[in-house]
């Protein structure tokens, strides 16, 4: 395949950025999107040009490092027929001769570092604010000693699938990280182990979400449409219910 890439190049956070045009020949339709960027970078390196900086790690859709906006959609969601991460998007999703625009996540809470790389450590701080359960470590307890109801544990599992990639923020017209935060809240709120800290957790995670400069949710739904792990919009309603209830409780006063 022959493709044209328009890639956002920006030397650092302060520099002026622009879209740069690159032609690639001999792209295989079985290559992943990241392999295509690798190919471009090899070409740039041999031409003695600066390679394109992009984030990546597992390349199997589980670490959440690799997100970029492809043709106006995080992870190229609307080029693909199935929910996907950038590393799992394959070139067969594009036509031969296609022109593809690649931009970094853009949001107030995700400052740009270089080219396609943004700083997503705001997510780590939201998790640190309460996305955990405080228990003594030691030998694992017997699995059946704490019964977890089937429906709730299924919901917990579905929400635990969030890989913290940030596509939801990148898609959101408000730059809100509510789907990510809601996935974490719902995951722990559905499990028996999550109950003791349930209401202090939602307060402190929302406080951190807002302090990081993310926007408020206006129930538009762009986030859930692009999420590679199909975290449902309903999780945000769960977060809202838990937060409203928490306001009438003493935790964190």
């Amino acid at each position: 395949m022959k493709i044209t890439l328009n890639i956002w190049r920006q030397a650092n956070a302060k520099a002026e950025g622009h879209l740069e045009r690159y032609q690639l020949d001999g792209v295989s339709e079985d290559m992943s999107f990241l392999e295509t960027l690798d190919m471009l970078n090899e070409q740039l390196t041999t031409e003695d040009k600066e390679p394109v900086a992009f984030d990546q790690d597992c390349r199997e859709g589980i670490c959440g490092m690799c997100g970029v906006v492809i043709n106006g959609a995080p992870h190229g969601r609307y080029s693909s027929s199935v929910p996907t991460t950038t590393c799992q998007l394959h070139m067969r999703s594009f036509a031969d001769g296609a022109e593809i625009t690649v931009e970094p996540w853009r949001a107030g809470g995700f400052p740009l570092i270089k080219d396609l790389v943004v700083d997503r450590s705001a997510f780590d701080r939201i998790i640190q604010a309460g996305g955990f359960i405080s228990v003594n470590t030691g030998s694992a307890p017997e699995a059946h000693s704490v019964p977890a109801p089937k429906l709730e544990s299924d919901r917990a599992f579905d929400n635990a699938a969030c890989i913290g990639c940030g596509a939801c923020v990148a898609a959101c017209p408000n730059g809100s990280a509510m789907l990510f935060t809601a996935a974490k809240i719902t995951h722990l709120a559905m499990l028996p182990q999550g109950q003791p800290e349930r209401y202090s957790r939602v307060k402190s995670m929302i406080a951190q979400h807002d302090a990081e400069g993310f926007g408020g949710c206006t129930n538009i739904g762009e986030c859930a449409s692009v999420c590679p792990k199909e975290i449902p919009l309903e999780s945000i309603a769960q977060l809202n219910r838990d937060l409203m209830k928490s306001l009438f409780r003493r935790e964190g006063k």
Partner: protein
């Protein structure tokens, strides 16, 4: 460095001031406004029962509701203060969330939006247009500052009949009601979701249908009387 939340507020205080709590305020005040609109549209239909019925109803609104629990004429003022408080709090939370959102959103060279409805996209500017038209509407029929074809001494019935016998007034009114109904197409779904009602994909569909249904109902309810006046059904 990214700011770590300031240490002066407790976690509870931060939660009370959070974007989610602000949205809840916006949703609750919005729902009070919708309940008022439903009542208002219902009340307007009195015009189909003739001048006495309509003027008596208009008179009743301003006189003996809740009398003798409270003195005559008090209810309307309590009600007005409550409505103004709702609108002010609604706009205040909308303003604060909008400023937050403008600082947080990204600007792309190319961006596809697949889920956002037209109604959702126009909530902010639509809200401002709505406010302008609302002020005109109050200036017209409540304060009687803009006399659109009637005089300061006209009865409420005469005021609406004389106003809506003019086709352009009906169009302007349709524009006003239409703006409100578009606001509510997203607003009703959004308020109920903010309050936690979106519990499943089926609930999501249900909430969206509810929003469309209530918005359409309000449009029909408000437009029935002016259209009847224009085409001579009400004289």
């Amino acid at each position: 460095m990214t700011p770590v939340a300031t240490q002066t507020l407790t976690v509870h205080q931060k939660a009370v001031r959070s974007s989610v709590a602000m949205k809840v305020l916006m949703a609750v005040t919005g729902i009070f406004l919708i309940l008022f609109l439903l009542m208002h549209a219902w009340g307007n239909l009195k015009a189909f029962f003739g001048p006495e019925a309509y003027d008596h109803y208009a008179e009743w609104l301003k006189s003996d509701i809740l009398y003798p629990l409270i003195p005559k004429g008090w209810f309307i003022w309590i009600f007005r203060v409550f409505m103004v408080a709702c609108i002010v709090l609604h706009m205040l939370s909308a303003y604060l969330l909008t400023v937050r959102s403008w600082g947080a959103r990204g600007r792309y060279q190319r961006k596809d939006r697949r889920s956002q409805t037209f109604a959702a996209r126009t909530m902010r500017w639509g809200g401002i247009i709505l406010l302008m038209l609302l002020l005109f509407h109050l200036g017209q029929f409540t304060v009687k500052l803009f006399l659109t074809g009637f005089t300061a001494t006209s009865t409420p019935y005469q005021a609406v009949v004389l106003t809506f016998s003019q086709w352009y007034m009906v169009i302007l009114y349709a524009l006003f009601v239409g703006t409100v109904c578009f606001h509510l197409r997203h607003g009703i779904w959004s308020a109920l979701t903010t309050l936690g009602a979106n519990t499943s994909p089926a609930a999501r569909r249900g909430l969206n249908y509810t929003a469309i249904f209530v918005a359409a109902l309000l449009f029909a309810g408000f437009m029935a009387m002016p259209v009847a006046v224009l085409f001579g059904g009400i004289k």
